[in-house]
Point group: C2
Chain length 154, copies 2
């Protein structure tokens, strides 16, 4: 998964960010960063909270929300909203740029890569005088071959 030296690099990015912003380097913040980088794929705050509780961390939801905001701000985490009223998150460092194809019927999320998205981002930002920070592209669709029966749970 993530090598140890990569973990150190990530930790350093976070440390530099905290120092630059004058935020304190608390063990809770590093613990949350660590746990997030052990997760593959998407997660929500509740899942991370339960995961950490199960490992006997003494942590609160409030701190998780707080820390994730910091991690988003230094681009170590990205936030997704796939149409539900609950945010999903994902580690962002050194991950291959990817976007999401969402099955309208099942809610299943498929990841895909297409470098051409970068050209669109560059053009849009140039025209409007922006510096791009991050993006999200969600394509919603349905499976071509319809299985005989399928549950709609979203």
């Amino acid at each position: 998964m993530t090598s140890n030296e990569t973990k150190e690099t990530i930790k350093k990015i976070f440390t530099d960010y905290l120092e630059k912003k004058g935020h304190r380097k608390t063990p809770e913040r590093y613990a949350i960063l660590d746990e997030i980088y052990n997760i593959n794929g998407h997660f929500d705050v509740e899942a991370l909270y339960i995961l950490m509780k199960r490992q006997n961390y003494r942590v609160s939801r409030a701190t998780i929300y707080n820390t994730i905001e910091l991690l988003i701000d230094c681009n170590l985490v990205v936030k997704h909203q796939f149409g539900k009223n609950m945010s999903q998150f994902e580690k962002a460092y050194h991950c291959i740029q990817h976007d999401h194809l969402i099955d309208i019927d099942t809610g299943a999320v498929i990841e895909f890569c297409d470098p051409r998205i970068q050209e669109i981002i560059n053009t849009a930002c140039e025209i409007n005088g922006f510096i791009p920070s991050y993006h999200s592209l969600y394509i919603y669709g349905r499976k071509k071959e319809l299985p005989e029966k399928r549950k709609k749970f979203y």
Copy 2:
């Protein structure tokens, strides 16, 4: 804005949809469709509710939520979630395909068009055996020239 014959076309699309799905053709549903198509740009449920109340409609938030779901299902409305915990909506019929550039600092939303997005959608759907229904691309960034002072309200 929207011509009368276009309004009729939209109404017909909704009628066909309701009939196909076996849903009832209630005046509330048509009123909500109408009001939505009078709005330019994005709106949230609360804004639409207040707008309709001010015009002495007897309507409830619950019905608005219900009806919008139907309108999304027949592609007359699209839903957006620009990072806040409140959904935004937009009419979708015969609108030029456009995406959104969001200012991280101010929350301002700029629309832009780029036909190349369609190629990406087609490729991703072909590879995964999907039929695309709709998509949303949000590019988050910051203004190049930083004004001396700027409020962060998100």
